[in-house]
């Protein structure tokens, strides 16, 4: 980041009449991270040890990063777990979060996969108010979103939806009109497309 490209929030003389000549006016130094805020997806490969989730969560809290979703599970290796973390921030802030995560002894690898070609999914269970008069409408909407009905009762049904966060958001918005009684989302999980593997570097 060059100082010339920084936002001009440096010292501005109170009285322009006494301003220093232009050629000596120091350009303000860039603070790290003035970029736009975006949603980022981080994948952290961690050792499957007691307390590792606490370490990650505690670090994100202490460093003032706001986690949006967090999904944790075993990998193919029983001693290794995988976390998928989504958070909002500018590029520098998220890079800092990833670096801080990597400082943890139990963290093997951290990768920001936001810009990579990835398959991204989460699962949502949505309990919708539906009776015999409008059940058909709900079923049609669910079908359009490739969601399926996993439970049916006289006054309600449960829709199981999978897809990207945006797809699930869109379905929920449509179903809201019927009345959502209960909603649970798993948080995003991702995997890179193609033959490459995020876990490969830490395979032992």
């Amino acid at each position: 980041m060059s100082p010339a490209g920084a936002t001009p929030n440096g010292p501005s003389p109170a009285n322009p009449a006494h301003a220093a000549p232009a050629h000596t006016a120091p350009p303000p130094r860039a603070l790290p991270g003035h970029g736009e805020t975006h949603r980022h997806v981080l994948v952290a490969i961690v050792l499957n040890k007691p307390g590792v989730l606490n370490r990650v969560a505690s670090l994100m809290r202490a460093r003032n990063f706001n986690i949006e979703t967090l999904a944790v599970s075993h990998t193919d290796q029983p001693e290794v777990s995988r976390m998928t973390i989504t958070l909002r921030g500018d590029d520098v802030a998220v890079e800092q979060a990833a670096k801080q995560l990597y400082r943890l002894i139990d963290v093997l690898k951290v990768q920001d996969v936001t810009a990579d070609p990835i398959v991204e999914h989460e699962i949502a269970l949505i309990k919708v108010r539906a009776h015999e008069h409008n059940r058909g409408e709900v079923l049609t909407i669910a079908e359009m979103y490739k969601a399926r009905v996993v439970d049916l009762a006289a006054e309600s049904l449960i829709v199981e939806a999978t897809g990207t966060e945006a797809e699930v958001d869109a379905l929920i918005a449509l179903l809201r009109g019927f009345g959502i009684k209960e909603l649970v989302r798993s948080g995003t999980v991702v995997m890179s497309r193609g033959a490459g593997s995020i876990e490969e570097a830490v395979k032992r």
Binding site: G10, P26, R29, P32, V46, N54, L59, A62, R103
Partner: protein
């Protein structure tokens, strides 16, 4: 609970629980919860309520009660009861002891593994305070006479002493505290070591593992507390984990960017038999610090350095940690670049060296701050652009491009955006950089260095009270600090406390030997000075050790005076007594419009206090008395305290007000204040 022969606690309690269970079984109204296991509390309560109702209705059946052990009969309940019994009776210890008394070799227990591990890591001295759950360790300590244990008077002193030991010696400092309050008292020193990247292993005891989470006596979730202020921490409840955990902890504490590692050991792990051997290799797949700088980046840095007209090196604590002071000198001399240093970088370069510029930052030298502000290239080595160094970042070093060398990738771009980052160990990066940097003839920098020298003359005379007299002839603190530096030929280890005394020490003592300056930088822990000096004296017994402390800080940890006497640790204490929390008072005067709330404080009669502890005490109240008092303290065999009664309202100048930049320094007004 039955008390029979000392058998295994577990089998005994199982028996008694079974007995109680079988007694309860015939009772008509015994609740199902009695038989325990995983029975739902709700069901048990429901039955009990029904029973009460029946009794209330006049049924003439005897009242019954639940077994007082929740979930009685389960293995978990038995373990909890066994743990409680152990905490009260030390049964395991009696077993071990009785074996030894009968002339049998006592078994190797977890506490032995701890001592062996400390010896294997080369620990010769550690600082601690015993407590109930640590007694198994103290029970075997006598069998390891090579391990010197210093009994502190407060666990905070133990952690600061381990910190001072580590900084003075370059080795890992070790401190020890019991569960509960002992552990929480260590935390301040652990946090201090974390912020200043000091290698330390802090050991605490904890309650028997089956009682974890039961809020047992002196139980606290100490690993939860130290998690954010350690580099890593461990909870050990299996004695066979002790050798591995200690080997990992010392490795993590000392490798890469150093930091404190905390090991919490349950009492049963300390007492249980341990068969595990000390590992020769470590398996830490998530801990791989990068030592070598990226060669492409190093080449880029060399180009920048070759093209720079006004370069400045900013040396931080990392230069001292990586033992790169010699490489720094060679690099500076070859490229003819002046060296500024941060507070924790003080002593990274001999201050009498012609290229040594001085200390930068909030209370640093004005000429150094001017040099930074006019530089076209900053070469930042092992430092982290703390806010006390940069001030307002947009105005920091406005003309400079920055090369930032640090071993911690998370420090790159954290506080200041930099043009050329190099992740690596300062020593190795400088070694790689040195042959790539073209030698610069001193003539090329002559005009630049001459300008800096002129600024320096101007800056050094400004707030200097070389006569020893501040306004109205009161004793000036900068003079006292300067005389201590001179008397010790600038070779003593000087440990500062926090506040004005710390700033005066860094400015005026004059440091020539690496690691001869020790100061609490990141956390700014008042009370650090005396206990850290205690550790520093143990870490470098070949060097004289001075603690320069204020009256506020000394009153926080003065109990360690007794430790100095009991263990005959020769620390000389220079107490700069202005009857004030001096830096607080300075801010109140300059920023809070003279609203002096709670910055005036009384102190004891310091000479009487010293005498009460058995410490030799001296006093100086005028400039003439300063040198004789220092000489008298140096002549004492053992600890000594010199009480310097200094001017009450002297401030440290220059000063960069918080939120301002390095160009906005406040300076001392020479005229007398108007009445």
């Amino acid at each position: 609970m039955g008390t029979t022969e000392d058998g295994s606690g577990r089998s005994r309690t199982v028996t008694s629980a079974q007995r109680e269970g079988s007694q309860a079984a015939p009772g008509v109204h015994s609740a199902p919860g009695n038989r325990g296991a995983q029975n739902q509390g709700v069901a048990a309560a429901g039955t009990a309520a029904a029973t009460d109702a029946a009794t209330g209705a006049g049924a003439a059946t005897p009242r019954s009660r639940l077994n007082h052990t929740p979930g009685a009969g389960t293995a978990r309940a038995d373990a909890i009861n066994a743990g409680r019994h152990e905490m009260l009776t030390d049964t395991l210890r009696k077993q071990i002891k009785s074996l030894a008394e009968r002339g049998l070799k006592r078994p190797r227990i977890g506490a032995d593994a701890v001592c062996e591990a400390l010896l294997a890591q080369g620990v010769d001295v550690f600082f601690g305070f015993p407590g109930g759950v640590l007694l198994p360790l103290y029970d075997v300590l006598g069998d390891y006479p090579e391990l010197r244990h210093i009994l502190v008077r407060h666990e905070q002193g133990a952690s600061h002493a381990a910190d001072g030991y580590a900084r003075a010696s370059g080795r890992v400092g070790v401190c020890l505290g019991t569960s509960g309050p002992g552990a929480t008292n260590l935390v301040t020193g652990i946090g201090n070591a974390m912020l200043d990247s000091v290698p330390m292993v802090a050991i605490t005891g904890n309650v028997v593992s089956s009682l974890l989470g039961k809020d047992a006596f002196q139980e606290i979730d100490i690993t939860g507390i130290t998690l954010p202020c350690t580099k890593h921490n461990y909870l050990v409840s299996d004695p066979n984990d002790i050798p591995r955990v200690f080997a990992e902890a010392f490795h993590i504490a000392a490798t890469g960017r150093p930091g404190p590692v905390h090991i919490d050991i349950t009492k049963d792990a300390l007492m249980g038999a341990c068969t595990a051997l000390h590992p020769e290799t470590l398996d830490l797949p998530g801990f791989k610090p990068k030592f070598e700088g990226n060669f492409r980046q190093v080449k880029l840095a060399a180009q920048e350095i070759a093209n720079a007209e006004r370069p400045v090196i900013l040396a931080g604590h990392g230069v001292l940690i990586s033992n790169a002071t010699e490489e720094l000198r060679q690099f500076a001399e070859k490229a003819q670049i002046p060296v500024a240093h941060t507070l924790l970088g003080v002593s990274a370069m001999d201050e009498t060296h012609p290229l040594s510029l001085g200390w930068v930052g909030m209370h640093g030298w004005k000429h150094v701050n001017r040099a930074i502000q006019s530089a076209d290239l900053l070469i930042a080595l092992g430092m982290r652009f703390d806010d006390r160094v940069t001030g307002h970042v947009p105005t920091f070093a406005p003309y400079a491009r920055i090369i930032h060398v640090d071993i911690d990738p998370a420090e790159i771009g954290k506080n200041v955006a930099v043009e050329i980052p190099i992740v690596g160990d300062v020593k190795r990066v400088l070694t790689a950089l040195l042959p790539l940097v073209p030698a610069v003839a001193s003539e090329r920098r002559a005009a630049y260095l001459k300008e800096l020298a002129e600024w320096r003359v101007e800056s050094e005379k400004m707030p200097w009270h070389g006569s020893g007299a501040w306004r109205n002839g009161q004793l000036s603190a900068d003079f006292v600090v300067c005389k201590i530096g001179e008397a010790t030929q600038h070779d003593a280890t000087i440990v500062a406390d926090v506040g004005q005394n710390q700033m005066w020490t860094a400015r005026y003592a004059g440091f020539r030997r690496p690691n001869s300056h020790i100061s609490s930088g990141g956390l700014g822990t008042m009370g650090f000075g005396l206990p850290a000096a205690m550790g520093a004296a143990m870490g470098r017994p070949d060097k004289e050790t001075w603690a320069i402390v204020g009256d506020g800080g000394l009153q926080m940890t003065s109990q360690e005076l007794m430790t100095l006497v009991q263990d005959h640790i020769p620390v000389r204490i220079a107490l700069l007594d202005n009857h004030k929390l001096g830096m607080i008072r300075q801010w109140q005067e300059l920023i809070y419009a003279g609203n002096y709330h709670s910055s005036h404080l009384l102190g004891p009669d310091w000479l009487k206090l010293a005498e009460a502890y058995g410490v030799a005490g001296f006093r100086a109240t005028t400039p003439e008395e300063v040198e004789p008092a220092i000489a008298a303290a140096r002549a004492v065999d053992g600890p000594a305290l010199v009480h310097f009664v200094i001017a009450e309202e002297q401030n440290v100048f220059p000063m960069m007000p918080a939120g301002k930049g390095l160009s906005d320094l406040l300076e001392e007004q020479f005229e007398e204040p108007k009445q």
